[in-house]
């Protein structure tokens, strides 16, 4: 890895939700380091804890019922864990920003889109209203919307256009870190292509570091430099894009690849992962994936796997790699 500025630093983050006397462990021991200009893909199924991790990075989790524990959550050197409310408000939007999945609900229907971008600029930068409006219009053009449409209201835009507006708002103050939570899931494929393309351009232009939360490995392959695979609240495999895709180690990651319909291979039958993710209220004591894992041994059900180093760019949390010859099928094929 190159030595770049670390813009997001999360160490041993755990998030629990205490509801009705039960404890749901949403995120456990997650460590993420993000450098300037890089994109991390956070992959996993519904309920794996991806969004909770992101919200914790912004310190946006409702406490109670949430309980956040972490050694460190830093955004551009700002301690998010112990910051006061007004400090947090300054950091959010300026240093770190988030795009939510549904563009339909993230915009206020009673203000025109230009005003909404202008507002977020005024909040963080000392500009006059005119200057802020001018900057808002530049942002609109940047995301590919003609400035004449700045006076239009959200309902006059299509889904893809709305998501562009949301991105324009998030990027208006050129944050160092942008967390995109399934930014294109609600969009059509051809529109998704446009939005992804645009996000890539913006990242290159501003050097923004991004966390791309998605369940679509295709999007990861196209837009990310690093990949973290989450399962039942833990990161079970972490590494560079190339390592994760071409040197897959964890059985769950392999399962994800096998369940994907591939447009270049019509004949192969899909191999789904059997069963489903454990309930966050009753995560088994051993490896959480053991019950669905074709390689699991009794040992896996008892012992929590530690994170093992595959090489400098790749870690995996699987017990079987303690055995010298163990290798999952996908790696055998690729290797």
């Amino acid at each position: 890895m190159e030595t770049k500025n670390t813009v997001l630093d999360i160490e041993n983050l755990s998030v629990e939700f205490h509801v009705d006397g039960e404890i749901a462990k949403s995120v456990t021991d997650v460590t993420i380091k993000l450098h300037e200009g890089t994109t991390l893909g956070l992959v996993g199924e519904t309920g794996a804890g991806k969004t909770t991790t992101a919200l914790a990075a912004l310190n946006l989790i409702q406490c109670p019922p949430g309980v956040i524990k972490a050694d460190k959550i830093e955004v551009c050197g700002n301690d998010m864990l112990h910051a006061k409310q007004h400090e947090l408000e300054k950091i959010r939007g300026k240093d770190i920003s988030m795009i939510f999945q549904d563009p339909m609900t993230s915009l206020n229907p009673v203000f025109d889109v230009g005003t909404q971008i202008q507002e977020s600029i005024l909040l963080h930068e000392k500009l006059s209203r005119e200057e802020a409006w001018e900057k808002a219009m530049q942002m609109l053009e940047l995301v590919g919307i003609p400035r004449e449409r700045g006076h239009e209201y959200p309902h006059q835009f299509s889904g893809g256009m709305k998501q562009r507006v949301v991105i324009a708002i998030s990027l208006a103050c050129t944050p160092k870190v942008l967390i995109a939570d399934e930014p294109t899931t609600a969009l059509d494929v051809t529109i998704q292509a446009q939005v992804l393309e645009m996000m890539k351009e913006l990242r290159d232009k501003y050097g923004t570091a991004m966390i791309m939360i998605t369940h679509d490995l295709g999007i990861v392959a196209e837009s990310c430099d690093y990949v973290a695979v989450m399962y039942a609240g833990r990161i079970i495999e972490y590494g560079t894009l190339d390592e994760i895709f071409n040197n897959t180690r964890h059985p769950y990651t392999e399962g994800l690849f096998n369940s994907l319909p591939n447009i270049h291979n019509r004949v192969g039958k899909l191999k789904p992962i059997p069963g489903m993710m454990p309930d966050p209220r009753s995560i088994p004591e051993g490896c959480a994936f053991a019950d669905r894992c074709p390689y699991a041994t009794d040992e896996c059900r008892r012992t929590l796997p530690e994170t093992l180093k595959v090489n400098d760019d790749h870690v995996v949390a699987c017990l079987r790699y303690n055995e010298p010859d163990f290798m999952i099928e996908r790696s055998r094929k690729n290797g």
Binding site: E45, T46, S158, G159, D188, V189, T190, I191, Q192, A193, Q194, L196, E197, H215, D216, L217, G218, I219, V220, A221, E222, L241, D242, F245, N246, G255, L256, F257, N258, S259, L260, P261, N262, I263, H264, R266, K269, L270, K271, P272, I273, P274, M276
Partner: protein, 320 residues
């Protein structure tokens, strides 16, 4: 050529809106052979869902014919319609809203049986419910569960069991996996595949995700703003897409492979409004190849190769 189960001729469905007529489905024609799957692909608002519902008579068609086993079902009423409902079923996209939250799994699956009086007596019905649950791979102990207690995959299995309860011949699958996680998605796709083999079902598989139908469909029809723009056997369509929209759609799918050299066609331009669309090709405003010819009369669906139909001025007969 196998036996044709369903034939759709010039199907039309318009909705009247305050701003004019919305052409949701416009002159769509296709046939599905018995035991085969037709994949209908398109983006939101292209009319694929409306098309499926119009065939099932969940909404009334504005015009055109739907021939099921040779008989025009678009005029069926009363008892005939009730009988038709036994032969044609639907699996819905959203497993959250397609199950009545007030009914237990057994009630949901039993309802079509009871209502159509297929079986009589509690014991016979209960036995059938359990049999159906086995068929779709639902554990029997969930029989008294309510939808909110199940996860998405299991809910979708309940929806499938309900559709199978009437022993249908034809099922419209309306995006049955798009609301599910990938690993669950594959489970459901495999289940549908197995059911097709064992029960001899015919599917119309509606989806926005070309990668999903790739594994599944024998033929694929691509819709754009209410019209069929291309229809071909699946292999042919993937290997040799002709319509510019199909090409863009194919290239837009993100491929989970770091080596893929994906030359993406990014579409630009405004989407034509489906309300009172003009005569011209509806894709022309976003098309890379559009010229004056496209602004005239819209292209007809033409057979360019055996089984491969395309509606485009530039890749139809002129191309040959």
């Amino acid at each position: 050529m196998g036996e044709v189960l369903l034939e759709v001729k010039n199907l039309q469905k318009y909705f009247s809106t305050p701003r004019g007529m919305l052409h949701a489905v416009d002159n769509v024609s296709f046939t599905i052979e018995k035991g085969k799957t037709l994949g209908v692909v398109g983006e939101s608002g292209c009319g694929k869902t409306t098309c499926g519902r119009t065939i099932l008579r969940l909404t009334e068609p504005t015009g055109g014919q739907v021939l099921f086993e040779g008989k025009d079902v678009s005029k069926y009423k009363g008892r005939e319609l009730a009988h038709l409902r036994r032969d044609m079923q639907i699996i819905f996209q959203d497993p959250f809203s397609s199950l009545d939250p007030r009914m237990s799994v057994s009630q949901i699956i039993a309802e079509p049986i009871k209502y159509n009086k297929l079986l009589h007596g509690k014991e016979a019905i209960d036995a059938r419910v359990l049999e159906l649950m086995d068929t779709v791979g639902l554990s029997r102990r969930m029989v008294n569960s309510y939808p909110h207690e199940l996860d998405g995959g299991r809910r979708q299995r309940v929806g499938i069991a309900r559709a199978l309860a009437l022993n249908p011949k034809f099922i419209v699958c309306d995006e049955p996996v798009s609301a599910l996680d990938v690993s669950i998605q594959a489970q459901i796709l495999n289940l549908l595949d197995e059911l097709q083999d064992s029960l001899g079902l015919t599917y119309m598989f509606i989806t926005h995700d070309l990668a999903v139908v790739n594994h599944f469909a024998d033929d694929i029809a691509v819709m754009y703003l209410g019209q069929l723009v291309e229809k071909a056997p699946a292999e042919e369509l993937f290997d040799n897409p002709l319509h510019p929209y199909t090409k863009a759609l194919l290239s837009a799918i993100p491929v989970p492979d770091t080596h893929a050299k994906n030359k993406r066609i990014v579409l630009k331009g405004e989407i034509t409004s489906p309300i009172n669309p003009g005569e011209e090709c509806r894709f022309a405003k976003r098309c890379l190849y559009a010229d004056d010819c496209c602004k005239g009369k819209g292209p007809e669906l033409v057979e360019v190769k055996p089984g491969h139909f395309v509606a485009c001025h530039h890749c139809g007969i002129a191309n040959q």
